[in-house]
């Protein structure tokens, strides 16, 4: 079994198609909605955890792209600038998935991109702007 957290961006022209239904029924993908933001008639953003056989997940993602859904694999999208990060821990106050977590007792901050759901709160919380990437809220993007 493979599991990937993805951000799906549905532009206006495809917003109301039953794409996720087909992803589940035709590709056998188990999905878990982690976050969703829908601006009616403008754009929809959806963060899903996709799991299934590795082959099926890959096929599912190809299907989404064929339907013109913009697919961002979150583990590849959020980035920490190691030079900027000072290991203060402010990001861990807001990270809900422990993608940013403290190693004890060194108190160093570890980043686990595969746990990230790109909520973007770390970008807001980081005092030295060490975090960057794509997120469900446009405002948090840098």
């Amino acid at each position: 079994m493979a599991s990937k957290n993805v951000l799906l961006i549905f532009k206006q022209n495809i917003m109301y198609r039953p794409i996720i239904y087909r992803l589940a029924t035709e590709y056998g993908i188990i999905f878990n909605v982690l976050e969703a933001k829908i601006l009616p008639k403008q754009e929809g953003r959806l963060i899903l955890e996709l799991s299934g056989l590795e082959e099926d997940v890959a096929k599912g993602i190809s299907y989404l792209e064929a339907e013109l859904v913009q697919v961002e694999v979150l583990a590849d999208k959020m980035h920490r600038d190691e030079e900027r990060c000072v290991d203060c821990g402010a990001c861990t106050a807001v990270c809900r998935t422990d993608a940013l977590a403290i190693d004890r007792p060194t108190m160093e901050i570890r980043f686990y991109p595969e746990r990230c759901v790109a909520c973007g709160l770390c970008i807001l919380a980081c005092p030295v702007k060490a975090m960057s990437g794509i997120s469900i809220d446009h405002d948090n993007e840098i």
Partner: protein, 394 residues
């Protein structure tokens, strides 16, 4: 200040440092030594304990003299990268505050504002050697006729650049929670409603003033690590207050002592001085600061042996109480508990996150240790003591 018993003098310690024979430990290492061997043995073995902290300290800033122009200007308004600096000083002197926000920043008009660039960032840029745009205005005088001046400078072009921080290294600080029903954006970070999380900001057992709770060795003239360069304690800090509740070990249970510090920015490193943006709150400066504590007597060995288990802070609500100046504590928490990442407040278990960097604090204390050991960094004898309170031996 009451005179303290001296079992080992500054002269003795400085002689040992010059001869390369001084024994120096970081405060966290001293904690382990005192725990395993006891105070008497630790006193006999150790000459100096180095402390460190690295956190956001808003009461920071820089005195800059940008050198006389031709013709001369009496700069009354000054901007560095469009961040206004105070010009009400002699001709080309100016003071840049860390919390000053760049002109035209939207501030909190769309809440929470991001405060991307301010005085703290200019200070970091200067120390990193990056070019900075300097702009000055004047009304013109017979001796200083120039009315406008604009140029690009790096720190090398500046006549003087001194970090002058009126309040740093707070001896202990609050643990913040939010009892209101909305998310708040504070200088203590992002706090979720209904007390869903907590933040704290102290290096605890490594923190300078928590290791010398009565300021016996930290006073005006104490030589310190400031932003990667040697600096000094220049006065007591603003809001310095020794008269707060203390534990049996003498350690303050809430914010208490503070220090004003000074150092030469031209010698500093941007690794230890960082501009900071606090969402919804403003701009600031992260400062790396360390103080060596001479172990003059057994009490100082015991003080520097303090552990996170023996230091408490107050849990304060930043949703309703703090902004309304309601002095109320929701309880006391030990740093050892805070550092586990989960704390219990009024029967509720909540996650706690640090805002000051412990790994950087260790780095500061370690650097200071190396300076003393390998570069003969001599300890300064305080010339004026900070206001303190009577020490009751337990």
């Amino acid at each position: 200040m009451d005179s303290i018993p001296i079992q080992r003098s500054y002269e003795e310690i400085n002689d040992k440092i010059k001869q390369g024979k001084a024994v120096i430990l970081r405060a966290d290492e001293m904690t382990e030594l005192v725990a395993s061997e006891g105070v008497k043995s630790a006193f006999k073995k150790v000459d100096v304990v180095t402390t460190g902290t690295f956190g956001t300290m808003c009461s920071s800033g820089a005195f800059i003299n940008f050198g006389h122009t031709r013709p001369k200007i009496k700069a009354s308004n000054v901007w560095l990268n469009d961040v206004e600096a105070y010009g009400g000083l002699a001709a080309v002197d100016t003071y840049l505050g860390a919390a000053q926000v760049q002109d035209d920043d939207p501030l909190n008009k769309v809440h929470p504002g991001q405060f991307r660039y301010g005085g703290g960032h200019v200070i970091e840029d200067l120390i990193a050697g990056r070019p900075v745009k300097l702009r000055a205005k004047s009304y013109g005088t017979d001796c200083y006729p120039l009315r406008e001046y604009e140029t690009t400078v790096t720190i090398r072009d500046l006549r003087d650049a001194f970090l002058y921080n009126p309040r740093n290294a707070y001896q202990n600080y609050n643990c913040a929670v939010n009892l209101s029903k909305r998310t708040i954006y504070t200088y203590m970070g992002i706090l979720r409603p209904n007390m869903a999380n907590a933040t704290y900001s102290s290096a605890g057992q490594l923190s300078p003033l928590l290791n010398d709770p009565y300021y016996w060795t930290i006073g005006v003239g104490t030589r310190i690590f400031l932003g990667g360069a040697p600096g000094v304690v220049s006065w007591r800090g603003t809001q310095h207050n020794p008269d707060v509740p203390r534990g049996e070990n003498g350690v303050v249970r809430e914010g208490a002592g503070t220090i004003a510090v000074t150092g030469d920015m031209k010698e500093m490193s941007a690794e230890f001085i960082r501009g900071a943006s606090l969402v919804g709150y403003g701009c600031s400066l992260m400062v790396g600061l360390g103080i060596p504590i001479p172990i003059l007597n057994e009490d100082l060995a015991r003080f520097t042996g303090v552990s996170d288990r023996d230091i408490v802070c107050q849990v304060v609500d930043y949703g309703i109480d703090y902004p309304n100046a309601i002095n109320r504590t929701l309880g006391e928490i030990r740093y050892a508990e805070l550092k586990t990442g989960m704390i219990d407040v009024q029967g509720k278990s909540i996650p706690a996150a640090p805002l000051s960097s412990y790994p950087m604090a260790v780095k500061v204390a370690e650097n200071l240790k190396l300076w003393i050991r390998e570069r003969g960094f001599i300890l300064g004898v305080p010339q004026v003591h900070l206001p303190t309170t009577h020490f009751m031996a337990p």
